[in-house]
């Protein structure tokens, strides 16, 4: 892809332990354009750490090594903390998993959204308020004037997640990193939230990096999928071709899900193969 926003080459994240070093992410390379890219893997596969590293939010015990990490011409590896602050939220923003823990419990919803806007653009309070109201409307919240004045404990999980999306989209970033944005939500609400996210992304031509462990969801919602296993990308594939996945791990993940229309007596459980740690990886069905 020519107009790639983000390029990562040979990213390694190493955590220093008491006895040995933990290699959490190993030689990960990928590009994100103005598209929807998913990273899929089990807990501990390094998908969240990869995304944290992009914003340089890796904990102090971790060390980032990479040949290249570039966002829209800016070298993230060399960027100072000050430069990173101007990027975070403004150009790359992050939607977190659980609105219960990510919203400030002591601040009114609307003020939090307005604050996100004022942090990144010099506008008056009144103007920021107007923008916040518009944004809340854009995420399909009814009766925005009332919701603006509510506190986070007074709204439901689905509404909280929509507020988070509003907060992350209001500075109009170029890239959004969504770390399991819907896993705390119900199926019915999940569809609504994804539809809203999709609509807003399309309107602004924003790129999305979507972290999830739900292959079904990802195959419907995203354009491309990266499958991570033990810190490595073992397969990169177009979401529409996911059923033709080549790597045994991707196939096993797909087979382990119960399916409504294909009832089985026993589900297949992925068996892990030590060879996958070093073994071959596939890109779009081709061995690399």
């Amino acid at each position: 892809m020519n107009n790639s926003l983000l390029e990562v080459e040979d990213l390694n994240i190493i955590f220093k332990g008491a006895h040995q070093e933990q290699h959490a992410v190993r030689n990960v390379s990928f590009r994100v354009g103005r598209e929807k890219l998913a990273i899929v893997g089990e807990s501990g596969s390094g998908k969240s750490q990869t995304c944290r590293a992009l914003l340089k939010l890796t904990p102090k015990a971790g060390r980032i090594e990479a040949t290249r990490m570039q966002f829209d011409g800016i070298d993230l590896l060399a960027a100072s903390e000050k430069q990173m602050r101007s990027l975070r939220g403004n150009r790359i923003s992050m939607i977190l998993q659980d609105p219960k823990f990510s919203l400030n419990p002591l601040m009114r919803i609307g003020d939090q959204v307005a604050e996100a806007y004022r942090l990144h653009s010099k506008v008056s309070q009144r103007e920021a308020q107007q923008r916040a109201l518009q944004m809340l409307e854009a995420v399909h919240i009814r009766d925005v004037e009332k919701v603006y004045r509510l506190y986070p404990h007074e709204i439901s999980g689905g509404m909280g997640q929509r507020v988070m999306i509003a907060m992350m989209l209001i500075p109009e970033p170029d890239l959004i990193i969504a770390d399991e944005p819907t896993s705390a939500l119900d199926v019915t609400v999940r569809q609504q939230v994804l539809a809203i996210l999709d609509e807003l992304l399309a309107r602004r031509n924003t790129g999305l990096l979507f972290i999830s462990h739900d292959l079904n969801l990802v195959s419907r919602f995203c354009d491309r999928v990266l499958v991570m296993y033990a810190g490595r990308i073992v397969e990169e594939i177009a979401a529409a071709d996911l059923h033709n996945a080549r790597h045994p791990y991707t196939q096993a993940l797909l087979a382990s899900q119960p399916r409504l229309h294909q009832p089985v007596e026993m589900l297949s459980v992925p068996t892990r193969d030590a060879a996958w740690l070093q073994g071959p990886a596939w890109r779009n069905g081709v061995l690399v």
Partner: protein, 253 residues
């Protein structure tokens, strides 16, 4: 479909639960009746806040303030349950990270119910139940933080099984787990049910999971039980109520 009374294991009759007082009072569950036969696997599905977990908590004796009746083996249970009840009915909770005591080793977690119910052969029973859930004796002296999510849920299931209950109440037992681990735990439930003739009542919002494990499924909305379907009917989309169809569509899309 009527279930003959000698096969009825667990039954609720016009169960209603409300929380709060005065103007704040909210009816959370209204007039819910269903029956589980011996060896049944019954699912309750619905979106959050529809009252499905509240019903489960009332059945488990965790909420004593309800109207209507809960019958177990054709006898009405008192709101405050006796100890014998808990030998027959056990519960597995949603989040294995929260439901195990962080400062108790696995063997202490498993020994506690044995002591409470004054059962014999502690050591043998602990070994047996660990094997039954796919762990082994080497896990005895571990703390929960030394276990993975799937292993923790296995320990939580072992804790429920060690008193040899006949009914397991499952409150979203796999929703905090990865898909691959979810497959392991669902398989474990299927195997255990076959081996020990268990009766399951599962609460979940995942349609694929509920049709995998349960033969009969009830759909709940705003505290009421809308309709009861067989898993096959659910797969075919044979729903009568408009809300059920909407729920099915949202789950499949």
């Amino acid at each position: 479909m009527m279930i003959p009374s000698q096969q009825r294991r667990l039954e609720t009759v016009d169960l209603s639960i409300a929380f709060g007082e005065g103007a704040q009072r909210r009816q959370v569950v209204s007039n819910v009746s269903f029956t589980l036969a011996d060896g049944d696997s019954y699912g309750l599905i619905g979106e959050s806040g529809c009252g499905k977990s509240t019903i489960l908590r009332a059945l488990a004796g965790l909420n004593t303030d309800y109207h209507g009746a809960i019958l177990f083996d054709n006898r009405e249970e008192q709101p405050v349950r006796n100890k014998a009840f808990y030998r027959r009915v056990q519960m597995v909770f949603q989040d294995p990270y929260a439901s195990l005591h962080p400062r108790k080793m696995v063997y202490a977690t498993l020994r506690e119910p044995l002591q409470l119910h004054q059962l014999d052969r502690h050591e043998e029973r602990i070994s047996e139940v660990l094997l039954a859930v796919g762990l082994n004796d080497s896990y005895r002296y571990r703390y929960p933080h030394q276990l993975s999510g799937g292993q923790r849920q296995r320990v939580a299931i072992a804790r429920a099984l060690i008193v040899e209950p006949s009914v397991l109440l499952l409150d979203e037992p796999t929703s905090a787990l990865d898909v691959s681990v979810q497959a392991e735990i669902l398989n474990l439930f299927s195997t255990l049910r076959r081996r020990r003739q268990l009766t399951y009542l599962m609460v979940t919002h995942d349609l694929a999971v509920v049709t995998h494990l349960c033969e009969r499924v009830a759909i709940m909305h705003q505290g009421a039980l809308l309709e009861e379907l067989s898993a096959d009917a659910l797969r075919r989309g044979d729903a009568q109520q408009p809300y059920t169809r909407q729920f099915l569509a949202a789950s499949e899309a």
